[in-house]
């Protein structure tokens, strides 16, 4: 008899239960980061105060007020943005079969920002009620433009063509944003920090508007995750297995646009999270999207909250824009991933 049979069904089940346990672990990591994030800051607060303020809030307690009005919103936004961008990136990498796909590389972040900057420059609109929709429109139109340009290139919408078309359109829109910046620098001051990806001084106003959309998008992503794995085997295989590929791609594009636009509306264009986190999730769970999606969400949330702690303490009492730190860490991390995973 052959001795090469590697894993018995029992061990296979073990792998699945390990992954289920891992979800709990990742969830725990998010909570730890969340509490740390709230307690660390210009005025250090004890963990007990943090937990107390959430369990029984006391309006006369100044610490409790700081937590509820300033730190808690910021931590919640960091969690949401981190999870959304990571799931958006994971979906994009699966659908385009392109390990470099992400909301930033394919131009969606710049597209969403561009739409917000233009509407602000032209109409002076920067109200929480409209920004998510303007961002969504910008991200959707950019995605369609990037796809169209890539399909027109010789070889069609290949991973390389998509990446190049995304980079080119992103650079072009970025240049127009800079022109706006130079022409109208007074007004632009309001947007400058936001454009680097910032979590500072954001209230929960925008969050309340978009949270139902984010929940819908996340649930839809998990429901469709099985089909994303199949789509990764190519359109013909997927169609042969009974997947309606065109409809599925449109559904996934809508999910990606919802998640990206929500993130941009909350915190500006936050680079590298959508690129790096799905790769880290894949190293842990393999290539089954039923696991990649939830792991990306939790890792992304924990990562951005962690990075935001650093953004607030590195040059305290000053702050660095969180987006700058995500790139500062994400860049080298990505180079490391390329080096270790290169074949």
């Amino acid at each position: 008899m052959s001795k090469v049979t590697l894993v018995s069904p029992k061990e296979k089940n073990n792998f699945r239960s390990t992954l289920s346990l891992g979800i709990l672990f990742a969830f725990g990591l998010c909570i730890i980061m969340f509490v740390l994030h709230i307690s660390i800051g210009a005025k250090p607060l004890s963990y007990l105060t943090v937990i107390n303020s959430i369990i029984h809030f006391d309006i006369r307690n100044f610490d409790h007020v700081i937590i509820l009005k300033v730190r808690l919103p910021r931590a919640i936004i960091a969690l949401t943005v981190g999870a959304s961008l990571s799931v958006a990136g994971a979906i994009m990498q699966g659908v385009t079969r392109n390990p470099l796909a992400s909301p930033s590389i394919l131009g969606l972040l710049t597209g969403a920002s561009f739409a917000i900057v233009i509407s602000y420059g032209m109409f002076g609109v920067f109200t929480p009620y409209y920004t998510p929709w303007i961002a969504a429109l910008g991200a959707l139109l950019t995605a369609i433009l990037v796809l169209t340009v890539a399909s027109l290139a010789p070889g069609g919408a290949s991973p390389l063509n998509l990446t190049l078309s995304g980079a080119a359109i992103s650079a072009f829109l970025g240049a127009i944003i800079t022109i706006f910046n130079l022409l109208d620098s007074d007004n632009f001051d309001d947007l400058r920090e936001w454009l680097t990806g910032s979590l500072a001084g954001n209230s929960l106003e925008v969050f309340y508007i978009i949270v139902p959309w984010i929940i819908i998008a996340m649930v839809a992503a998990i429901i469709l995750s099985r089909k994303i794995t199949i789509l990764g085997m190519g359109d013909d295989v997927a169609k042969g297995l009974g997947v309606k590929t065109t409809g599925l791609k449109i559904q996934l594009l809508i999910i990606v646009v919802m998640l990206t636009a929500s993130s941009v509306a909350l915190a500006g264009p936050m680079g590298f999270i959508g690129l790096v986190i799905p790769h880290i999730a894949r190293i842990v769970v393999g290539s089954d999207y039923r696991w990649i999606i939830p792991y990306s969400a939790l890792f992304g949330a924990a990562y951005l909250v962690g990075v935001d702690i650093l953004a607030r303490v590195i040059i305290a009492p000053q702050e660095i824009s969180t987006g700058i730190i995500t790139a500062l860490f994400g860049g080298p991390l990505f180079i490391y991933l390329i080096k270790t995973r290169a074949r």
């Binding site: 049979t5 794995t229 013909d236 169609k239 042969g240 297995l241 009974g242 393999g286």
Partner: protein, 283 residues
């Protein structure tokens, strides 16, 4: 007709009726009719670009004909519920690529997708189907290795296993023997023959290897310029004249004395020639 009575002894389930298929303005398939005999191996051959892959994809509902229709069990396949069709008809396209990091068992498991739903995820029936398919295709020993790490031939067998795990009565395969050593090609064709003749599966295979096609086809179909030009038993249509007409190939047909099968030997222009003397035959 070239067909003998035996070929269509069972009810025909897959039929294409006057289909035209176009890429843009380019007509690839031209008013083509085809009936697929049940529980037999049908092999499509033809020169590169003749439309055989396009025909296969159209029968698998991956491409939609611009006119005409494909019928599966009396229903228009392009208007049927695609997931229900996937329980009856499986497709292995040409040169599929597995996502990075996918293990063999995960790949084969994807073949169970049509049998699952949100509420009915993984069952013991799925597990059995996957294990059987891996054992049949002899990839069970690689079950937990990554598909990327295997050789071309091993990978191809994983894909065949995936198509088998789908447990469909009809399987369409586009050049499943490409990149395989001759021995593995023969093993794969033997496996397909078993599936058809012992398990009653209906197979439609696009092949490039003419001799393999002639050896294994119950029903051989030759395609030229988007039309079927010859069809029938290999021993009737696998002739020198037909190969010249279909492929513009000058070849002699030999008959294997032990099996009566037709074998083609191309007329090589500049190949090494040996005299019939005993020189060199030192055994």
């Amino acid at each position: 007709m070239d067909y003998n009575d035996n070929l269509f002894s069972e009810k025909t389930r897959l039929v294409a009726n006057e289909i035209d298929v176009k890429y843009g303005d380019n007509k690839i398939i031209d008013c083509l009719n085809i009936e697929i005999p049940t529980a037999k191996i049908t092999i499509l051959i033809g020169a590169n670009g003749c439309g055989k892959s396009t025909l296969l994809k159209s029968m698998a509902r991956v491409l939609t004909p611009s006119s005409g229709s494909v019928w599966l069990d009396g229903k228009d396949i392009h208007k049927s519920n695609t997931k229900q069709v996937a329980k009856k008809l499986g497709l292995l396209p040409q040169g599929p690529v597995a996502p990075e990091g996918l293990t063999v068992k995960e790949l084969v498991s994807q073949g169970r997708f049509p049998h699952q739903s949100l509420l009915r995820q993984w069952s013991s029936k799925d597990e059995t189907a996957v294990n059987n398919a891996m054992a049949l295709a002899k990839v069970d020993i690689f079950a937990d290795l990554q598909v990327d790490d295997l050789s071309g031939g091993q990978r191809q067998r994983c894909w065949v296993a995936m198509a088998m795990a789908q447990e469909t009565d009809i399987i369409l395969l586009d050049e499943p023997t490409t990149f395989l050593d001759l021995k593995i090609q023969v093993e794969l064709m033997d496996l397909l023959s078993t599936l058809a003749h012992e398990n009653g599966r209906t197979l439609v295979v696009v092949l490039h290897e003419l001799n393999l096609a002639a050896a294994y086809a119950d029903n051989l179909i030759m395609i030229k310029d988007g039309k079927i030009v010859f069809k029938g038993e290999p021993n009737k249509i696998f002739t020198s004249d037909n190969l010249k007409f279909v492929f513009d190939l000058n070849a002699d047909i030999l008959i294997d004395p032990s099996t009566n099968r037709h074998i083609c030997i191309p007329k090589y222009k500049n190949a090494t020639s040996f005299s019939q003397s005993t020189e060199g035959a030192s055994t």
